[in-house]
């Protein structure tokens, strides 16, 4: 393989990997505060892309993206308040099925609103054929946008959890719900907030990836299962691990298409998921000790 081709695959892998990492972090945020996996996580990415495309004719691009993120956050809050907030200690099976139901309803709403057509935002800088040369390979500036925005999001999130009061309250709920209540934190609000946060992150990722990967009503399931693979790979609840695992999966996937037909790309990442689940269910970076203490 020539250097150019290698760099080309590498950047493709990093682009997709960043998206997977963001979806995985979305899983982690909700998992940490509630102990549930939100199977509708991928739909937030789809909604972000779809809404911004619909808003674009009426306003400039940054405003359309900002508004799309806000609307998706509102949808996230609505979903949590309507379907989850008032349940008292539901079983894992029940939560799985409810979030799957939410995912189906969101997707069906999307297909009835936007149809089955494939949409995309315009490139943020330049157009389809603008490229930058890196080590002989040609990459689109949008790739840098995706990687940059995802990187900024991860750093902001890290600061948010470390320094702000709300972030610390969320971490308190994740660490010990009862103790958090005794300290005067309302865990229900924190759960709603975690849905808003992960919806917003998903939506922003959906906007920046839209010019490259396009947006269709049914992209959510695929993203959700890959995001989950990454979340598991990095250790469920561990966002630093999610970034590393996301890039790893993205790069493996990108290089896999040089060996096997494109149609099997998804099958490969899912096969990785299955292998990881069987061999190291606490993830590459997680500790088995901690995994056993969590309630699955």
């Amino acid at each position: 393989m020539t250097t150019e081709l290698f760099v080309q695959y590498l950047f493709a892998g990093i682009t997709y990997g960043s998206i997977y990492a963001i979806v995985a972090i979305g899983f982690n945020i909700i998992y940490n505060t509630t102990g549930i996996i939100n199977f509708a996580q991928g739909e937030f990415v789809m909604l972000g892309g779809m809404i911004s495309v619909s808003l674009l004719p009426y306003m400039p691009l940054p405003l359309a993206i900002g508004l799309a993120v806000l609307i998706t956050m509102a949808v996230g809050a609505l979903i949590e308040i309507v379907f989850i907030r008032w349940l008292t200690s539901p079983s894992v099976l029940r939560m799985i099925i409810i979030t799957i139901g939410i995912s189906i309803l969101t997707r069906e709403a999307a297909v009835h609103i936007w149809g089955e057509s494939i949409r995309s935002l315009p490139y943020f800088a330049g157009n389809e054929i603008t490229t930058i040369g890196v080590l002989g390979a040609r990459i689109s500036p949008q790739v840098l946008w995706v990687v940059g925005v995802c990187g900024v999001m991860v750093c902001t999130l890290h600061l948010f959890f470390k320094t702000t009061s709300v972030g610390r309250e969320m971490r308190a709920c994740a660490a010990n719900r009862t103790a958090a209540i005794l300290c005067g934190i309302n865990p229900r609000n924190m759960v709603t907030f975690s849905f808003v946060l992960s919806a917003g992150m998903g939506a922003l990722a959906g906007c920046v990836m839209s010019p490259i990967t396009y947006t269709q009503y049914d992209i959510g399931t695929g993203l959700a299962i890959k995001g989950f693979t990454v979340a598991i790979l990095g250790g469920l609840g561990n966002s630093g691990g999610a970034v590393a695992a996301g890039l790893l999966l993205g790069i493996i996937e990108a290089f896999s298409i040089s060996v096997v037909p494109l149609a099997f790309k998804d099958a490969i990442s899912i096969a990785i998921l299955l292998v990881i689940l069987f061999v190291r269910p606490h993830g590459l970076f997680g500790s088995g000790e901690a995994a056993r203490l969590k309630a699955f």
């Binding site: 379907f83 409810i98 309803l105 299955l274």
Partner: protein, 356 residues
């Protein structure tokens, strides 16, 4: 024998429906009733896995597709160009192939449907064992995602393999002669006969499963559902029982897939789709998880309505909504919303407290 009597009223209803539709001249309903019966065969198998053994599977459409696709491909793909290969010669000398003419009059050599069906069921069982051993060690989200992943892999493989017809699926699947005179096929003349074949299979399956859950195995499964640790401590071999149930439900799914494919005369990739798996889970949930009769009734009813096109383009949305509403308001099935006598209460798939 008692359980055989419990099925008799249902048999009466089945005959009554056939007579009513014949009398009213609305026999076309029987076609959808036949298809609904095959889907319900899968659903009652899944019900035992989910409701009694307590293991969720979001990949059962995969087993349905393994059955349907293998049977369809083997009985449809012409082996004539390969008839000199040793494997084909071996099959032929074993009497496992049948020759005929295709629609253009050229020679056709395909696998005998019975042999294809047995192979498909064996493959489904084998894959269920291979997948089941590692997967069933997982719990909760991990189990759900792993089975979902399995379903997606099957879907992708079917969609990417020319031998399985890629996006077009396989059409022109020949009839399946179960016994002399008893043929699974889709044309109008065989409608009533096929209605009875499908319902016969479904009722027989129900009878087997009813016996199973009221036997020692059934009690062991319920113990596992209640608490794996406790069941383990009482000497129940958890992993073996979970695996056996998983394989059994996979075989039910494969048989349903085979028969429905021969009845429809074809199969498409949508049968392997994630939405189908989710739909089966939804129906088991509506029926009450640990409630075979509920799963059967809801399976027939909802599939019939869906096949009749009652839900229009909102088909998937309706199943999504049903799933959410049931899980929010009646996690133990729709029947629990009705007042019931105490001694009739089934094993409750009671929500366990997960949060400390």
């Amino acid at each position: 024998m008692k359980r055989l009597y419990a099925i008799l009223p249902l048999l009466g209803v089945v005959v009554l429906i056939q007579m009513l539709t014949t009398w009213m001249g609305t026999q076309f309903y029987l076609t959808q009733m036949t298809m609904a019966a095959y889907y319900s065969l899968l659903i009652i198998g899944l019900c035992v896995l989910m409701g009694y053994a307590g293991q969720i599977s979001l990949g059962h459409a995969g087993f349905f597709a393994i059955g349907g696709y293998l049977s369809a491909a083997l009985t449809t793909r012409n082996l004539m160009p390969y008839r000199e290969e040793w494997l084909v010669r071996l099959l032929d000398s074993g009497g496992l192939l049948q020759s005929g003419k295709d629609m253009y009059g050229s020679d056709l050599l395909v696998v005998w449907p019975w042999a294809a069906a047995l192979f498909a069921v064996l493959m489904a069982a084998l894959i269920a064992i291979l997948i089941g051993i590692p997967v069933l060690k997982l719990k909760g989200h991990y189990l759900a995602m792993a089975t979902l992943g399995f379903g997606i892999i099957i879907y992708r493989l079917v969609l990417a393999t020319p031998w399985f017809g890629e996006a077009d699926g396989i059409s022109g699947v020949p009839p399946f002669e179960l016994l002399p005179g008893l043929v699974v096929r889709g044309d109008v003349s065989g409608r009533v006969q096929n209605y009875y074949i499908a319902w016969g299979m479904l009722l027989f399956g129900l009878f087997l499963l009813l016996n199973l859950i009221n036997s020692r195995i059934g009690r062991a499964l319920r113990a596992i559902h209640g608490s794996e640790e406790a069941a383990d401590a009482m000497g129940v071999n958890i992993s073996r029982f979970k695996l056996q149930t998983f394989v059994l439900s996979a075989v039910f799914a494969a048989i349903a897939g085979i028969l429905l494919t021969h009845f429809n005369g074809g199969i498409g990739p949508s049968e392997a789709g994630v939405m189908k798996s989710v739909r089966y889970v939804a129906i088991v949930a509506v029926g009450g998880m640990a409630h075979l009769w509920g799963a059967l009734i809801m399976g027939v009813l909802l599939n019939f309505l869906s096949l009749r096109g009652v839900f229009g383009s909102y088909d998937d949305a309706v199943f999504g909504l049903i799933l959410i509403l049931i899980m929010l308001f009646a996690p133990n099935g729709i029947l629990t919303l009705l007042p019931r006598k105490k001694d009739q209460a089934p094993v409750q798939a009671a929500p366990k407290d997960e949060e400390a």
